[in-house]
């Protein structure tokens, strides 16, 4: 029997109609389908319908050896591949009791923060398109290209770069990397200021995002919203500060938070986070220790039976990996916690009674990545 969606079962009043937004729609950032119950231009109710590009990564992971799982973790959040790498690597290292050398941890931080900036820049670009401004994408991509080139120097890949290994990182920083990063960081803050002035502080932009899509603190917490979206609601929780991993306790940075929880606050936070990440990168380059980049991990990884959960602060929120070992060379179960999934679930809370244009603005400000939802 064909499965019916919730809206088809519910009866509509004579003023209302169902609009299927996606899976092929320019504003859903991928293959996400959202069923909208509309009254004219106004969204009465909505229901996300994910699953169109489900790739069953968690199941695949059960049939791969521990180190073979790593490339799959890239594919979930292709905009910041390192955050899933890191969560998985930390979980397995915890299971094995492996200690990553200082330099390796440092390089991990550098890569993670570069990924954060890359991801936020891409959000900025895509949000411009969502809001109908077609120019920001080119500026953001110009900056992002610099970082991607550096990452390519380091790992050989540009997007899903598979940079980490269990026990450390694959490559040491190549010659020219630090200089290139320094050159990039030199005028990055000026660029962020300029983009903010051009786009985020624009009158039309403010009118479209201020006090739109308000997510209250209680609601944010009860939906499990994390990352910039939670911090915009007045809850300054950042795992890098709260539960430091990979040596984040050695860097000084601020946790950006705002009060209102509207779309504009979420934008502001991401812009500020880019500045903070740049500051972390500067510190990381200045204090780069010498030594090994990777701990000596055994050729065949066989952790002792048990489970371990590791969480990192990805660009979108808490990225978690729960790895269960049965003592064999393959994980018994790998479960990923993806921030986008929880963030998307709060969409209905924010969108009651808004216009369809606002829905796009709110969804864009949540910064969701579909493969992460459909992992």
């Amino acid at each position: 029997m064909e499965q019916k969606t919730a809206f088809e079962i519910q009866e509509l009043t004579s003023d209302e109609y169902v609009l299927s937004m996606g899976p092929q729609h320019p504003a859903t950032h991928g293959v996400l389908r959202i069923l909208l119950r509309m009254d004219g231009e106004v969204v009465v109710n909505l229901q996300p319908d994910p699953g169109y590009i489900h790739s069953s990564i968690e199941k695949i992971c059960e049939n791969r050896k521990y180190d073979q799982v790593m490339p799959y973790t890239d594919r979930m959040d292709y905009l910041s591949a390192v955050s899933y790498n890191l969560a998985y690597a930390l979980a397995v290292e915890k299971l094995m009791g492996l200690e990553v050398p200082n330099r390796g941890r440092h390089i991990r931080v550098i890569l993670a923060e570069m990924n954060r900036i890359m991801s936020h820049l891409l959000w900025f670009a895509a949000y411009g398109i969502d809001m109908g401004a077609l120019t920001p994408i080119w500026y953001a991509f110009r900056e992002r290209e610099n970082l991607i080139t550096l990452i390519e120097m380091q790992t050989g890949n540009r997007l899903t770069h598979h940079a980490l290994r269990i026990g450390g990182v694959k490559n040491d920083l190549p010659t020219g990397f630090v200089e290139g990063l320094n050159k990039f960081l030199e005028n990055f803050n000026d660029m962020v200021d300029e983009y903010e002035a051009l786009f985020i502080d624009n009158v039309i932009f403010k009118a479209r995002t201020k006090s739109i899509g308000v997510l209250k603190k209680e609601n944010a917490i009860s939906y499990g919203v994390t990352g910039p979206n939670l911090r915009a609601s007045g809850c300054d929780i950042d795992l890098r500060k709260l539960a430091p991993y990979s040596g984040y306790e050695n860097f000084s940075f601020e946790v950006c938070s705002e009060k209102n929880g509207d779309s504009w606050d979420r934008c502001k936070i991401r812009m500020n986070e880019m500045r903070q990440s740049a500051s972390i990168l500067r510190q990381a380059i200045d204090t780069l220790p010498e030594g090994e980049i990777s701990a000596k991990a055994p050729k065949i990884i066989k952790p002792t039976p048990g489970g371990c959960y590791a969480k990192v602060e990805g660009p979108r929120g808490e990225v978690g990996a729960y790895v269960v070992s049965a003592g064999t060379d393959k994980p018994y179960r790998v479960k990923f916690r993806s921030p986008s999934f929880s963030n998307l679930s709060a969409l209905n809370e924010m969108c009651a009674g808004v216009k369809i244009a606002d829905l796009v603005a709110i969804m864009g400000s949540l910064d969701i990545v579909i493969p992460e939802i459909d992992r």
């Binding site: 077609l134 624009n202 039309i204 009118a207």
Partner: protein
């Protein structure tokens, strides 16, 4: 005779001014009369020739303006823009047009066929007819009607029917929303434009396009007397032709492509052609009403007209590629709550000043 009256009207339209184009008509008339061709036939032929010339201009201008926009936006966006087809990519638009021409003409099965096919034609017709009263130079005007500016307002209103029809006939919720939006938007922004133009007509004392330009002779351009009106006109006219930041009817991120979602091939090309010709027309009308039309030193009038028009086109493009899209209720508020009252006050002040000074 009814037929005779019609012909009189056509002659009235064609020969009513003592300007070069009319001279040319008269000369042609005499020359052909020598071959004892019936005058009705001759007038029809002249009409046809004028129509063909206008159509040719519309097509070539659209080709150029699309190329110009692509290059201009590329400059703003740190890109190169089209540079492969022909020298400097000049033939890119030609290639695109050819591609659109030879594409399969798709009529989705659930559309209202007749209306679906008619809609792009209606939109294009409105645009094309407006082109007839644009004064490109001294006397270089296809038909200098005594009600020129009113005619523009009336004919450009045709586009609403086309857009709404296209949105309705597509049988697609996004298209319908786009069509409804465009109807609301064009009606809302036509009124400030009308009020602003009234002020200009009061200053010029005529609705004739040529007359309005002549009233500004000696560099007494109306933009000096009516700066607020000029701004209102630019904003409202930009909204009327559905260009960003007012491109709500085809808002890509919200409505996929609005009323053109289901259109492809040649029918899409007609919408596209109308859109870019509208851009030119709005700028041309702005130049005629506010910037002294064809007036300028050194260059011939036609060149000046084109230079000024493209300057205004550039400003509109600049707006398009800089601003985010405005929201639909803000758009309505902006027109009814701000533009219209300001335009009315502007009109009142103009009237008082003209009356007492």
């Amino acid at each position: 005779m009814e037929n005779g009256e019609e012909m009189e009207l056509i002659r009235e339209l064609l020969y009513n001014s003592g300007e070069p184009l009319s001279e040319f008509y008269r000369w042609l008339h005499k020359a052909w009369a020598g071959f004892s061709v019936p005058p009705v036939f001759l007038d029809l032929m002249i009409q046809f020739a004028v129509a063909a010339a206008v159509f040719g201009f519309v097509a070539v201008n659209a080709l150029w303006i699309i190329y110009y926009e692509r290059k201009f936006s590329a400059k703003l966006q740190i890109r190169i823009g089209p540079n492969r087809v022909g020298p400097l990519g000049l033939l890119q638009t030609v290639a695109d047009t050819v591609k659109l021409l030879i594409k399969e003409d798709i009529n989705p099965s659930k559309v209202d066929r007749v209306v679906f096919i008619l809609a792009p034609g209606i939109v294009f017709l409105g645009t094309f007819l407006t082109m007839l009263v644009i004064p490109f130079g001294n006397g270089l005007i296809a038909a200098d009607l005594s009600i020129g500016i009113l005619y523009i307002l009336a004919v450009s209103g045709l586009a609403v029917i086309g857009l709404l029809a296209g949105g309705w006939a597509s049988n697609n919720k996004y298209s319908l929303m786009g069509g409804m939006r465009s109807a609301a938007q064009i009606v809302a922004y036509e009124i400030p434009v009308l009020v602003v133009i009234l002020g200009i007509v009061m200053l010029a004392g005529t609705m004739k396009m040529g007359g309005i330009v002549e009233a500004q002779a000696g560099y007494r351009w109306f933009v000096i007397y009516q700066p607020i009106a000029f701004l209102i006109f630019l904003i409202a006219a930009n909204a009327e032709i559905n260009r960003a930041p007012f491109d709500l009817p085809e808002a890509e991120s919200e409505l996929v492509s609005g009323f053109i979602t289901e259109y492809s091939g040649m029918k899409f090309a007609f919408f596209f052609l109308a859109e870019y010709t509208n851009l030119f027309i709005v700028s041309a009308v702005a130049v005629t009403l506010f910037l002294g039309g064809w007036e300028g030193p050194f260059f011939p009038p036609f060149v000046w007209f084109i230079i000024k028009t493209y300057a205004v086109v550039t400003v509109l493009m600049w707006m398009r590629w800089t601003f985010p899209r405005i929201r639909v209720d803000h758009l309505m508020q902006f027109s009814w709550k701000y533009l219209l009252p300001i335009a009315l006050v502007n009109l009142l002040v103009t009237a008082i000043v003209i009356k007492f000074i």
